[in-house]
């Protein structure tokens, strides 16, 4: 695909992405939502982030790899433990990357 052909496509993606972000920030107050939706909202970050994290740790070349040979999984789980214990963002990322490199290059 040439770069000139990309412009309309990328513009459409940009517009669509904006509308998704803007949707309820704009609509809020103009419509009433059921209480159960409001109560469910606090689970959004946890559920979505988790759905982004675990495939990135587990899936390799299209298939789940649940073994100690999966360096991303091992490093990710240890980072999860660090995050749980310390609640420290920097420590979590550094420990995870450090362990990943250690496993990969030793």
């Amino acid at each position: 695909m040439t770069n000139s052909a990309l412009l309309p496509l990328l513009s459409a993606i940009a517009l669509g992405t904006f509308l998704l972000r803007f949707s309820f920030i704009f609509l809020y107050g103009r419509m009433t939502l059921p209480q159960w939706i409001h109560r469910s909202m606090r689970f959004v970050p946890a559920a979505v982030l988790s759905a982004l994290i675990f495939p990135a740790l587990v899936i390799q070349n299209g298939a789940p790899v649940l073994s100690i040979g999966n360096h991303r999984l091992v490093a990710g789980l240890l980072a999860l433990a660090v995050a749980w214990k310390t609640k420290n963002l920097l420590a979590t990322t550094l420990v995870g990357l450090g362990i990943f490199w250690l496993l990969t290059y030793m």
Partner: protein
């Protein structure tokens, strides 16, 4: 008040930036290696401003997918922003239209999740300025290191696995919102469904996993603490 809220927002994001820097660079590098021009690469970073979708788009351009498939994939990956929008909307309900546009466009996984966790813990915070501070620093770092990636091109070897910094950043951010059992259930459900449903084409698994996780958390809360539920019923 404004500036102190903004500063707090920006400071909250500092540890997260470590994961964003390689992510932005990889996005820039990948774009150039895919044959996308520096101008179009910056267009993506400025106007799409969503790393996971940008990388998926580049991958599909590389494999020669049709425009329709590329558009659909990007929208599905970014569908989560609509749920974020819904959950953070109450904090921005009094903002004028222009502010809503600006705050919406600057939304990222990290600035959203960190801000929401902060608003819940600190009801006295000024949401507009805190979120603006958190989002602007993310935005500035994202643009700067996209440019760095464009300039570096293929200099950084991909085998360093720097892309691994992103799930690690998400892990760190995730912990900010884990504060009781129903949230843990949402985490476990979202993660397990995402892995099991990964073969669903076009990233359908991500949407399914997000909805399952949210539903599981809500159900666990509903059935786990009926008395608290009733006590809080007058809200």
């Amino acid at each position: 008040m404004k500036s102190s809220s903004m500063l707090r927002g920006a400071q909250t994001m500092l540890p997260v930036l470590l994961g964003i820097i390689p992510f932005a660079m990889i996005t820039g590098i990948t774009a150039i290696n895919t044959g996308v021009s520096p101008g179009m690469t910056m267009f993506m970073s400025l106007f799409i401003f969503a790393g996971a979708a940008q990388l998926a788009v580049l991958q599909l351009i590389h494999t020669g997918a049709s425009s329709l498939v590329i558009l659909y994939t990007a929208i599905i990956i970014n569908f989560r922003f609509m749920i974020y929008s819904l959950s953070i909307a109450p904090y921005f309900k009094k903002e004028p239209f222009g502010w809503k546009v600006l705050l919406s466009h600057l939304m990222t996984d990290q600035s959203y999740a960190m801000s929401l966790a902060h608003f819940i813990n600190d009801p006295d915070e000024n949401p507009r300025w805190f979120y603006l501070g958190a989002s602007l620093i993310m935005w500035a770092v994202w643009q700067t290191f996209t440019i760095a990636g464009i300039l570096l091109g293929a200099v950084i070897p991909s085998h360093l696995g720097l892309d691994f910094a992103i799930p690690l950043t998400f892990i760190a951010v995730l912990m900010k919102s884990v504060n009781d059992i129903p949230v843990v259930i949402a985490v476990v459900t979202g993660g397990v469904v995402a892995v099991v449903a990964a073969p669903i084409p076009m990233n359908g698994g991500l949407v399914l996993a997000a909805i399952s996780g949210i539903a599981a958390g809500a159900l666990a809360e509903h059935f786990g603490k009926p008395k608290v539920e009733e006590a809080a019923h007058h809200d």
